[in-house]
Amino acid sequence: MPNTPDYHWPPMDKRRVMGKRLERLDGIAKSTGAAKYNSDLKPDGMLFGALLTSPHAHAKVTSIDTSAAESLAGVTAVRAVVKAGDELQWAGQELAFVAATTEDIANDAIRLIKVNYEVMPHLVNEEDLSKAGNRARPSGEQATGDIDKAFQEADATSEGSYGIPVLTHCCLEPHGQTISIKGDRAEYFPSTQNVYGIASDIGRALNIPIANVHVHMDYMGGGFGSKFPADKWGLESAELSKASGGRPVKLFLDRATELSIAGNRPSVFAKVKTAAKKDGTITAWQSDTWSTGGIGGGNLNAALFPYVFTQVPNRRINHTAVSVNAGAARAWRAPSHPQVCFITCSALEDLAAKINMDPLDMFLKNINYTSRADLYKFQFAKAAELMEWKKNWHPRGDSASGPVKRGLGLALGTWGGAGHASTCKTTIHPDASVEVELATQDLGTGTRTMVAMIAAETFGLPVSAIKVKLGDNAYPNSGGSGGSTTIGGVTSSTRKSSVNALAKLFEVVAKSLDVSADDLEAVDQRIRVKGNPDKGMSFTQACQKLGVNSISEMGANEPAKAPQEGLNTGGVGGVQMADVSVDIETGIVKMNRLVAVQDCGLVVNPKTAESQVYGACIMSICGALYEERIMDEQTGRVLNPDMEFYKLAGIGDIGEIIVHMDIREENDKRGVVGLGEPCAIGGIAAIANAVANAIGVRAPRVPLTPARILAALERRTA
């Protein structure tokens, strides 16, 4: 047996499973309704939980009385989580939880809880920084080069203000769980991106051993970065179960609560000044930005300015975090990147317009200010071809007659996405069944399918021969799904555990064939001698030689070692181009096309990879045209915590989307890299730029509602 097994991915032309457009393995379960999400569970004796939240954005509790709720028939437990004197910092903050035999009774009980408040002044909107007072916390200036000199010597300068609001994750399956606590044991069924790690939240809060907290989740209905901790509703549901004799308690947030407190993405508002030479070379970037991440403040990485073009020689960056009385921000698909991309690419497009330059030419002119010049050059060329950019682009302002103006815009993005720490166990049974076990989770990205594909490739078996077991913390730790780190982690650990298991099987087969284990390969459901394909046996026959013993081997992805091993790396690029039509009489923006060219290193399954990019493009359309959390200045509450007025694009609102996965040998050689986040970055900026190109003026604030388009047009004519 070789001392160091060869874990490398097979060369592109030798792959039999990887790289194929396979259907996701859980597709039928989902499309027939057989898939049981944890919000679908109803274990024996289950109780329903409900919670009371603060109606005030800032208030002091003067009294809380739960007695009427406690005496309601059907109520099994009531827990107040605030007391008289406590200060509440946002509307939606949790006040009390109840468990009851039916959901109606639980909700009735909530209504019987009497709370009195002393209402205090609040701040919920950050767009007007002058009103933020001491809630605004500037961070130190970051400066490089001589920016004042650069502005003096510039051939052209451009100044603009831009804004992108707070969004909420709006996961379709709300946050929540079904949980039971019996003695020092927990059965915990959350909707989470963190199947392994989340057990510790419950263990610590209830003072029970983490090893006794069993977490299980087969499917989950969307997280997008918001579903890592157990949250107060998880911990309190556990307490309700404990107080109700260990009966399971189910509590999933209602839509209004979900959109008010279960996570959001920070806003960013910006004043930007840029400078360039006549030939389009960018010489200076200055940005003053502010944002809110809710009650916690900041939560924006302003060091990302100027986005991707980070090596612009003269830069001055200031950022101010504003704390407002609203629920705290959480990670949101590519934290900071979509906002910073929107502001940067908008400002640079405005600069290009100032010097009458095609922004594509200007981006290419400055491509050496990025860290992936060749990749972006290739991708812009590909996207321009798909968009017919040179034929369709026109200088700012569509000169065509009639009210409908058409325009093109572009943007680019980057992300890390190297694989996280992941451990995996692969077992080969004597009946030739193969199991792969790891405590990861499939958020709908296709993780289950990818793991099966890697094992199938390794064993020379069809995907149907692999049983993937995930979504349970009884399996080896494979980390949470954040930062697009899952695919690199799980494919690498699966590859290694499967190669290790196969090596053990080779040892058994080698003896019976009287060859060296090094000479064997697993191809087409056979174990055979390299270079002598007739000498060998079927995989099934090989496994029969195990007698009664199974082979179980572990494999681990260790991020520190991964770059040398080459199975996964970090760092990707992608570009997006948008084509829109704007009716300047109504202000309505219509998507015509959105083109995305996206690299993510080695693409395990182009079909599901494309789906993620399609989805990210649609999410970007939502962000560019529809989505916005609106806070009511008077009451301090979210005004649109529902799906009528917190708007998402529908199936007819998205135009056509063209996705090109940048699958090339030079990208493939970098190994597997995460995809979920990088493709969700550039779309908003590309669409906003296309609108500016169409109507001839910058509409500075997204989402680009008809009112904002008309306001921008009014400023143009004024």
Partner: protein, 212 residues
């Protein structure tokens, strides 16, 4: 145009009319009944009052009777999910916007979060669980998989039912018709491109099946 249809004007099977409600209230509030004309009062005599508290109901779901009891305020969606363990329909917006709870009632595509369970008695309710025949997934379900028209999958059951109901009425739709016909369902992962193709594929297969 949204393909979702308004419930037709009809007398609810359960007789829970506004008039019946007024009469019910009248039991405890003389003020409200004071102005009721004699003829109207006579007309009310057939109105039934249910609750408070749970009442027994029978629902015809996927061709089978299901007996359970619910409070009169319970939606069909919550009854399916909480009482009958039919959890394909999902509760997402819970107010008739997103379509995740879509079912087919008497041949019409409807949001089950906007229908009271007691009002659904005597009507033919079809849920996603009833779409597969003899363990074989329906053509729409298969087309959703083939076209990867799902990611997290939480909107998928509603979309599949909306697509089934749409194709029942529009067996040969154009691409443009699919874009408007499925406008009553929302997806957060962004699976619409796959859904469009899936509906067209399913239309072909369903027509083929009928011709066979």
């Amino acid at each position: 145009m949204n393909q979702k249809q308004e419930p037709e004007k009809r007398k609810p099977k359960s007789n829970f009319s506004r008039r019946g409600f007024l009469q019910g209230v009248g039991v405890t509030s003389g003020v409200l009944t004071t102005g009721v004309l004699e003829s109207e009062a006579e007309a009310q005599t057939s109105a039934k009052v249910a609750g408070p508290g749970e009442v027994p109901i029978t629902l015809q779901i996927n061709g089978k009777p299901y007996k359970t009891s619910v409070e009169p305020r319970a939606t069909l969606l919550d009854t399916l999910r909480h009482r009958l363990d039919l959890t394909a329909a999902k509760r997402v917006c819970d107010r008739g916007t997103c379509g995740a709870c879509t079912v087919i009632i008497d041949g019409k595509v409807m949001y089950s979060c906007t229908v009271l369970a007691i009002d659904a008695q005597g009507r033919q309710i079809q849920t996603l669980e009833g779409l597969s025949q003899n363990g074989k997934p329906h053509a729409v379900s298969r087309a959703f998989v083939a076209n990867d028209a799902q990611q997290c999958g939480y909107c998928t059951p509603g979309f599949v039912m909306a697509a089934k109901g749409f194709l029942d009425k529009n067996p040969n739709p154009t691409y443009e018709e699919v874009k408007t016909g499925l406008g009553g369902n929302l997806c957060r992962c962004g699976t619409y491109m796959g859904v469009r193709k899936a509906v067209l594929d399913a239309a072909k297969e369903m027509k083929g099946a009928k011709n066979a």
